[in-house]
C-alpha cells in the first residue's frame, strides 16, 4: 500500500482544518484528491510530508509512519507544492541541481532530459534566472524538480495550474509514462475533467471531511446517463417509466431522460416506436461532483 491515512485530523488553534480522514492509495495507482479551496487538501499533503503535524490520527507511506520515520518516507516522495518557493535570483538549472543533490536517489540526466523535453523547457531557459520565468515555466520547473529523481510516489498539488492546454496535454502524457513505470501518484486538483482523465480513484474533501472515496467509474455510476430520443412522429409519453428512468423533458417527438443502471428496459419500450435517433451521453464527473460542492456552499 502506498498511502494509508487513519482518522487524520488537524486543528489550527480553534480552526478545524481536517477531521477524521481515513483512506488508502494502492501502489501504482493515480489518486485524485479533490475539494474546493480550504477543504483540507494541502493540509493533508503537508501532513504526508511531515511539514505539518496532525492533531489526531496517523499517516503512513509505504508502511512507514510519516511523522516518526519522516526522513525515510520523504526519500520515496517527489513533491510539487501548490506554490513552489523558488529563489528568483537562481537559475532553473542551479535550482534543479540543488534539489537533485538533496534527494536520496541520484538524478539520472537522461530521465531529467526526457522530462524537460516533454515539457519543452530548453537548456537556454534553464540558464535564465527564475524571476524571468512566466507562471507556466515556473510550474514546469516545479514538475521537473518533483519528477527528476524518479521517486516511487509523486505528491502533486494542483499540477496543471498555470499550464497552457498544450502543456497540460504534455503533462498528461508524462503522467501516463510515470504510471507505466509503476509509480504511484497522489494529486490534488480543481480541474475535474483532468481528474476524470488521469485518475483511477478519487477522494473528495468537503470542509475538512472526506465525503466521497471511490473509483472514477463508480462515481460516474452515481449519476444517470443522459439519453435523448428523437421520434419521426408524435409519440405519447408512457404512463409509467421503466425503473431507474427519469424524464427530464418530454415533447411529442423528443424525450430527454436520465437513466441509472441498464438501458434494456428503455430499449424494449422503444422497440415499437418510430425512433429516428438515440443519443446516449455518459455522465461527467464534473456534473456529479458539482452537486457535492454545491451542497457545501449551501
Amino acid at each position: 500500500m502506498a498511502i494509508r491515512l487513519e482518522h487524520l485530523g488537524k486543528r489550527y488553534g480553534r480552526l478545524p482544518a481536517l477531521h477524521d480522514v481515513s483512506l488508502h492509495v494502492e501502489a501504482g495507482e493515480v489518486f485524485g484528491f479533490l475539494g474546493v479551496n480550504g477543504a483540507g487538501k494541502t493540509t493533508t499533503i503537508r501532513i504526508l510530508l511531515d511539514l505539518v503535524r496532525p492533531t489526531t490520527g496517523r499517516a503512513w507511506i509505504f508502511d512507514r509512519d510519516c511523522q516518526k520515520q519522516g526522513r525515510e518516507v520523504r526519500a520515496d516522495i517527489g513533491y510539487l507544492p501548490g506554490e513552489p518557493g523558488f529563489y528568483g535570483d537562481m537559475t532553473g538549472a542551479a535550482t534543479l541541481d540543488l534539489l537533485g543533490r538533496l534527494s536520496r536517489q541520484r538524478v539520472d540526466p537522461a530521465w531529467r532530459r526526457t522530462i524537460l523535453d516533454r515539457l519543452e523547457l530548453a537548456s537556454a531557459d534553464l540558464q535564465r534566472r527564475i524571476r524571468e520565468y512566466s507562471t507556466g515555466m515556473k510550474r514546469k520547473l516545479g514538475i521537473v524538480q518533483a519528477l527528476q529523481a524518479d521517486p516511487p510516489l509523486l505528491v502533486l498539488d494542483e499540477p496543471t495550474e498555470g499550464l497552457d492546454p498544450l502543456m497540460q496535454e504534455a503533462f498528461y502524457d508524462l503522467l501516463g509514462e510515470i504510471r507505466r513505470r509503476g509509480r504511484t501518484v497522489f494529486m490534488s486538483s480543481h480541474v475535474l475533467p483532468e481528474v476524470e482523465r488521469v485518475c483511477d480513484r478519487i477522494g473528495l474533501l468537503r470542509g475538512g471531511e472526506l465525503v466521497l472515496l471511490s473509483t472514477v467509474t463508480e462515481v460516474r455510476g452515481l449519476a444517470g446517463r443522459r439519453v435523448r430520443i428523437t421520434f419521426a412522429d408524435d409519440v405519447p409519453a408512457p404512463a409509467v417509466w421503466p425503473p431507474s428512468c427519469e424524464a427530464i423533458a418530454v415533447a411529442p417527438r423528443l424525450w430527454d431522460l436520465s437513466i441509472r443502471g441498464p438501458l434494456g428496459p428503455i430499449v424494449s419500450l422503444l422497440a415499437a416506436l418510430p425512433v429516428v435517433d438515440v443519443d446516449v451521453q455518459m455522465p461527467h464527473l464534473e456534473e456529479i461532483l458539482r452537486n457535492y460542492y454545491a451542497s457545501e456552499a449551501r
Binding site: L49, R74, Y79, P84, G85, F86, L102
Partner: protein, 271 residues
C-alpha cells in the same frame, strides 16, 4: 554532516557571499586604516595631548581603560568594539540566523524539507553558515590589523600583542555567537524573516542601551546583568587583562541555549 546538509550549507554561503565579502573588505580596510591613524597620532605625538584634554573626573569615571584607549594599541584595537563594527557584525549575524524564517516565508522550505532532510539539519546548516561567515569576517579584520601593523607603522610603535588582538577578535566572536543563538531561536519560531530579525534587532538595541545605563548609573547596574553586552568587556582586554572566564562562559552558554531552543522549536512546529 551528510551530503544534503553540505549542499544546503554551500547554497546558503553562495547566497550570502556578496554581503559577507563586502562586510569583510570594509571592516578589514577599517582595521588597516586604524593602524594608520594610530601611526599618525604617534608621529604627531598626539596621544599625550589627547589624554591631557580629558577632564580628571571623566578619567576617574572611565578608569584605566580610558588611558589605554588613548594609546597606539588602543586606537589599533578600536575596530574590535566600535559600535558601528558591532552593528555590522550583529546585523550580518541576524541576517544569517533568520534564514530558516525566510525559507518558511518564501516556501523554499517546502522544497527542501519534502526531501529526506531532518529539520535539525536546517538549523545545523544555519549554525555552520554563522560559524563560517564569522570566521571569514573576523579573519579579514585580523588580517587588516596584521597587514597594517606589519607593513605600514613605525618600527618603534608599541604594537598590541597578537594575544590581545586574538582575544579582542574572540570577544567579538563570542558576542556574535550569543546573538546568533538568540536570533536563531526567534527565527525557528517565526513565520516571517522580518518578524524574527526585527525582534532580534530590537532586543540587541535594548540590551546595548541597558548595558550602557548599567555602566553609568548605579541603580541600573544589577538589571544590566541580563544584557549579553554586560559580558562584553573589550576595554579590559586592551589593558592586557585576558578574557574573563565567567564572561566567556556566559556568552557561550547564552548562544548554546539559543541554538538548543531553536533545534527544539523548529523540530516541533508546523511549517
Amino acid at each position: 554532516m551528510n551530503r544534503a546538509t553540505v549542499a544546503l550549507v554551500v547554497h546558503s554561503l553562495r547566497r550570502i557571499r556578496p554581503v559577507v565579502i563586502g562586510i569583510s573588505v570594509v571592516l578589514a580596510a577599517f582595521q588597516f586604516l586604524l593602524t594608520q591613524v594610530a601611526a599618525y597620532l604617534m608621529r604627531t605625538q598626539a596621544f599625550g595631548m589627547l589624554a591631557s584634554l580629558v577632564p580628571e573626573f571623566v578619567r576617574s569615571l572611565a578608569g584605566p581603560s580610558m588611558l589605554a584607549f588613548m594609546s597606539f594599541a588602543g586606537v589599533v584595537s578600536l575596530g574590535y568594539f566600535h559600535p558601528i563594527v558591532l552593528i555590522s557584525l550583529l546585523g550580518l549575524t541576524i541576517a544569517i540566523a533568520t534564514e530558516p524564517a525566510a525559507e518558511i516565508e518564501s516556501r523554499f522550505v517546502d522544497l527542501t524539507l519534502s526531501r529526506p532532510i531532518a529539520r535539525a539539519h536546517v538549523v545545523a546548516r544555519t549554525i555552520a553558515v554563522l560559524v563560517v561567515c564569522g570566521l571569514i569576517v573576523l579573519g579579514a579584520m585580523s588580517a587588516g590589523t596584521w597587514i597594517g601593523l606589519a607593513c605600514c607603522t613605525p618600527a618603534n610603535a608599541p604594537r598590541p600583542s597578537a594575544a590581545i588582538i586574538r582575544s579582542l577578535a574572540l570577544n567579538l566572536a563570542l558576542i556574535a555567537w550569543c546573538w546568533g543563538g538568540i536570533a536563531l531561536a526567534l527565527a525557528a519560531a517565526a513565520k516571517r524573516r522580518a518578524t524574527a530579525s526585527g525582534l532580534a534587532g530590537i532586543t540587541v538595541l535594548a540590551s546595548y542601551l541597558l548595558d550602557y545605563l548599567g555602566r553609568v548609573w548605579d541603580p541600573a547596574r544589577r538589571l544590566s546583568e541580563i544584557s549579553p553586552f554586560h559580558y562584553f568587556e573589550p576595554m579590559s582586554l586592551v589593558t592586557g587583562a585576558g578574557l574573563s572566564a565567567p564572561n566567556v562562559a556566559t556568552l557561550v552558554a547564552a548562544g548554546l541555549v539559543g541554538t538548543a531552543a531553536s533545534f527544539i522549536i523548529f523540530s516541533r512546529r508546523d511549517l
